[in-house]
């Protein structure tokens, strides 16, 4: 079958990027490039909505399949061009559509090398979309790695602080993880009983996927090792303690829109990989299953949550603070995945659903937080918290929406963060009561650092030694309408999912049930 919608969705940004790179010329091209790029992400957003809405929940399974079998037609690596969405990937495609558009809009004020900037941003969106819809392992890997080049350029050229150092650190961490993943992919492929790269079974196209074939098969390498290689690659990207140290640097030095993409969707590629590959492939493998390490995963998750939370409180840079809070929040994703339990009978689908939803909500909430920090920084030119204070009077809109993000992240009921976290806790508690109990303390930490930063930056009085001169402070202006478009785009899903979670959770549940087989 070749449905075509996914191919168009994935490659539209890249195609526009190519056109922009080749044909945008002249003095006035910057403004055109901005409009064209924003238009492209807008169309991609519409397409991603079409993917999400078009997914038939009654039918379930993998839909909108684009299948070209003989992509690499050699026996040594029979790889096919196979795209498709199921309940797990459809919401993430939507998330990428939303954030891609928000990031392009949020880049309105970029002045430096505009043409190149938007080219990389659009290529980044293609890479992320490709990761979520690829159902061939090699294709998945290619998109997973391809994302590095745009990210590296975006951080290194348009970043602040120590951009090249941070960009290099990001690339080296991810490349190292990626190398392990490639080895794991090849090891699965050369296993005689598997010998395919299809990540799921699609009966309509006669595709039998790895999860089915790996069940009970003797792998070419020990299953624990292959699992570990995949896990390592995703743990770097998620990131989990102790592999997280690239994240604060990359976030702090990246331009605002890139931080939005990084926190919003790039980290989700790892969560998605954990669910699709580590959980999907390793439930019935010979000699080793994911159940054997679920306990260890819950412990790492709890450490990540608490460690991330404690470090966050100590931060004095607004962006760094939010970056560390991501480590804490992505720990909840890991905790939810650990709900798979020590045996198939113990598996809690609720916890897994919570992990999936946490990815979605964290994407919008943290994306919004970075956007608001960016808006504030554009005006005050400092992110140093002790230098700020009393900004509420000058920029109420920015303060309000920063609070929305903050309250969402600490888990205020009626906002989406609450739903996700409660699902993770309720789902995982019966399976791993101690780890969940410890991790739940992370919510208290979140309340602490969120309320404290809001209090220090936006409320209270201006500090005795203000970082802003009176002149700057007096001339501060609030966000204007063009700044508010991406803000609204990111804030809306926080409320919608908070009040009406089933719009996303029903979808995720279909995906999780399919992964659990």
């Amino acid at each position: 079958m070749f449905d075509g919608l996914l191919t168009v969705t994935v490659f539209l940004p890249a195609a526009v990027a190519l056109l922009v790179a080749l044909f945008a010329r002249g003095e006035n091209s910057d403004q055109q490039v901005r409009w064209i790029s924003i238009g492209a992400t807008g169309v991609t957003f519409v397409l991603s909505v079409m993917v999400f809405v078009g997914y038939d929940q009654d039918l379930a399974g993998v839909q909108m399949v684009d299948y070209f079998e003989r992509w690499i037609p050699v026996d040594a690596l029979r790889s096919s061009y196979l795209l498709g969405v199921d309940g797990l990937s459809a919401p993430l495609v939507l998330l990428t559509g939303i954030l891609g558009m928000a990031a392009a809009l949020g880049s309105w004020r970029i002045k430096k090398r505009v043409r190149e900037y938007f080219m990389w941003l659009l290529l980044l969106e293609t890479a992320v979309l490709g990761v979520f819809v690829s159902l061939d392992l090699l294709l998945f890997f290619i998109f997973f790695e391809f994302e590095l080049i745009p990210m590296f350029m975006l951080i290194a050229i348009w970043g602040s602080g120590r951009p090249r150092y941070s960009a290099m650190k990001f690339v080296l961490f991810t490349l190292a993880g990626g190398a392990f993943m490639l080895v794991a992919i090849l090891a699965i492929y050369v296993t005689p009983d598997v010998n395919t790269l299809a990540m799921v079974s699609i009966p309509a196209d006669g595709i039998v996927g790895i999860p089915e074939l790996m069940a009970g098969a003797d792998l070419a390498a020990p299953a624990a090792l292959i699992f570990g290689f995949f896990f390592l690659a995703f743990a770097v990207k998620l990131p989990l303690w102790p592999l997280h140290s690239w994240l604060p640097d990359a976030h702090t030095d990246a331009p605002t829109a890139v931080s939005v993409m990084l926190a919003g969707v790039l980290l989700k590629m790892a969560g998605y990989g954990l669910l699709r590959i580590n959980l999907g492939f390793f439930q019935e493998t010979n000699g080793f299953t994911i159940h054997d390490v679920a306990g260890a995963m819950s412990i790492i998750a709890a450490i990540s949550v608490i460690y991330g939370g404690i470090i966050t409180i100590r931060q004095t840079d607004m962006k760094r603070l939010i970056a560390y809070s991501s480590v804490s929040h992505m720990g909840f994703v890991m905790l939810g995945v650990a709900a798979v339990g020590s045996s198939a009978a113990e598996t809690s689908a609720g916890g897994l659903n919570g992990a999936a939803l946490q990815m979605f909500t964290h994407g919008t909430i943290t994306g919004l937080a970075f956007l608001m920090v960016g808006l504030s920084y554009d005006r005050t030119h400092t992110r140093h918290i002790p230098h700020l204070g009393g900004l509420w009077k000058k920029m109420p809109l920015i303060a309000i929406f920063f609070m929305v993000a903050g309250l969402g992240s600490l888990g205020l009921p009626a906002l989406s963060g609450f739903v996700a976290e409660i699902m993770v806790f309720l789902g995982t508690f019966p399976v791993w009561p101690w780890a969940t109990g410890v991790a739940a303390f992370g919510v208290v930490l979140a309340a602490g650092y969120t309320l404290w930063i809001v209090q220090r930056v936006f409320f209270g009085e201006r500090p005795a030694t203000p970082g802003l001169s009176d002149e700057v402070y007096d001339n501060l202006t609030d966000a204007n309408w063009i700044d508010m478009i991406p803000v609204i785009a990111l804030a809306a899903p926080i409320f919608v999912v908070g009040i009406w979670p089933s719009v996303v959770t029903d979808m995720f549940d279909i995906g999780i049930q399919a992964v659990l087989r």
Partner: protein
């Protein structure tokens, strides 16, 4: 000679005639643009004749043995002829400005004609199935290159030419020695007959290749071709010649000469030594050479500061990756999942590498012709000075490095995966480790181009002809990376020479 023979050799004949035509045109006109135009338009003839042999447009294609069984016009040779012709067209296009420059001093016509003659030799080489023919074709390939390398008549150029000539002569001598052993042992110079004789001749247990004579012969043959393929330990000439010779010649050497050498060594190994037991013996030999070549090439490249020398070492390392595919023979795959894709991987890698390397070399030609600076620092801030060339260069370098989704990555994955399946896991691991080492020096070039500040802010763009050649090569590399099946299916049908495939 029959009419059939003429058909079979028609691309080579057209090529030789074209070389003569180009020299004649050079006598009449002083305009190098006209000379190159004649050459490029004239190349259509051998290309059409090659396509004809593949498709059979003008009547019955003469696919099969010709000239008393000394050459074979099969899909394998046609695949390589097509690749060589494409590379030649690109090289000549990229040299249009160069041959008109002061540096060549009125030898532009000879330059083009020598390239065409050398390619004639290569085309004969890839279809030769008989040892003497192989040797003659090889000499025809090498001698024009000696003159090409020394065409500048500077101290460096003459040194490059002399070095190439002496080493080429020595390697030919070693090769001939190896051929002589084979002839003495089997009584034939025909590859098919050699295979039949080897199968019936008595073998000694425990000796690789069944006899010391054959072992010695194979080592000498591999050593002889190792020089052409730029395989360690026969790689010493590469950096010196690449740096001393004109850049278009280096580009031509790094791609065409290498492709032809790999083609002929594949044919010799798979046809003459295609017995499964012998295959396992030479697979081990190539595996060791591959590991050493990759590692030495990459390690020595780390400390280079001249871009042409760096590319020289990089081509050595790339030869190592290709050797991984050569070592991954079907016969090693006892208990493996599928028939081998090693040879297919070699052909895919060679074609992908050809386009990628041409992108890099052509971009370097375009850049250095403006900046007159061969050092890596000379590339500083290129992105600001010439965005298009910088983009093309970075694309080529990333493909050489093997960054997904470029053709370099695809080819590496196919080759390494063949190695895994041929029970050469250690070789695949060495390959992956080498890729990581290589990232260091490739990324140094990228860093200079993208991040460093230029010493000289002036902007420039390349000559139109070089830009076209670079662009076409880049499109080729891009397409073969995104759509590997385009090449791999050709490679598959070209591999009828490999037994069991």
């Amino acid at each position: 000679m029959t009419v059939q023979d003429f058909w079979a050799l028609s691309p080579e004949i057209a090529m030789a005639l074209l070389a003569l035509l180009v020299v004649s045109v050079d006598l009449v006109t002083r305009s190098m643009a006209k000379v190159s135009a004649v050459a490029i338009i004239g190349l259509a003839a051998p290309i059409i004749l090659t396509l004809n042999l593949w498709n059979g447009w003008f009547g019955d294609p003469a696919v099969g043995p010709a000239l008393f069984g000394t050459v074979e016009t099969d899909h394998f040779s046609l695949f390589f002829k097509f690749l060589l012709l494409t590379v030649t067209a690109g090289t000549i296009l990229a040299s249009v400005k160069y041959i008109a420059s002061e540096r060549v001093k009125d030898h532009g016509g000879e330059f083009v004609s020598l390239i065409l003659l050398s390619v004639t030799g290569m085309m004969l080489l890839v279809s030769a199935t008989e040892l003497i023919t192989i040797y003659v074709a090889l000499e025809l390939t090498a001698l024009p290159v000696v003159a090409l390398a020394a065409i500048h008549r500077t101290k460096q150029g003459v040194e490059a030419g002399t070095k190439f000539f002496v080493l080429s002569a020595i390697s030919s001598a070693i090769l001939l020695y190896g051929f002589a052993y084979i002839y003495g042992y089997t009584g034939s110079t025909n590859l098919d007959v050699i295979m039949d004789r080897l199968a019936v001749l008595p073998t000694e247990a425990g000796v690789p290749f069944g006899s010391y004579a054959v072992l010695l012969a194979v080592i000498m043959i591999v050593a002889g071709f190792g020089f052409k393929m730029a395989v360690v330990p026969w790689q010493m000439w590469v950096p010196d010649v690449y740096q001393g010779a004109p850049t278009p010649v280096a580009a031509f050497l790094s791609v065409a000469s290498k492709a032809a050498a790999f083609a002929v060594i594949m044919r010799i190994m798979y046809v003459a030594f295609g017995d499964p037991i012998l295959m396992q013996d030479w697979s081990g030999l190539f595996a060791i050479l591959a590991a050493v070549t990759m590692t030495v090439g990459n390690t020595l490249a780390l400390s280079q500061s001249n871009i042409k020398r760096l590319l020289g070492y990089s081509t050595i390392a790339q030869a190592g990756y290709i050797l991984v595919g050569l070592a991954s023979v079907p016969a090693n795959q006892v208990g493996a999942t599928f028939a081998g894709a090693g040879p297919q991987g070699v052909m895919y890698y060679l074609a992908g590498y050809a386009f990628t390397n041409l992108v890099v070399f052509f971009a370097v030609i375009a850049i250095t012709s403006r900046t007159n600076d061969d050092s890596i620092e000379g590339l500083n801030g290129l992105l600001k000075r010439s965005p298009l060339l910088a983009g093309l260069l970075v694309f080529g370098i990333l493909s050489l490095l093997g960054m997904p989704p470029t053709v370099g990555f695809m080819a590496k994955v196919v080759v390494f995966s063949s190695a895994l399946n041929a029970n050469l896991t250690w070789l695949a691991v060495v390959g992956v480790v080498n890729t990581v080492i290589a990232a260091y020096y490739y990324l140094r070039v990228v860093r200079a181009v993208v991040f460093e500040d230029p010493a000289d802010e002036s902007t420039f763009s390349g000559d139109k002809s070089v830009l076209i050649a670079t662009g076409v090569a880049a499109i080729g590399a891009g397409v073969f990376g995104l759509a590997p099946f385009l090449l791999l299916e050709f490679a598959e049908s070209a591999l009828s020479i490999v037994p069991g495939l």
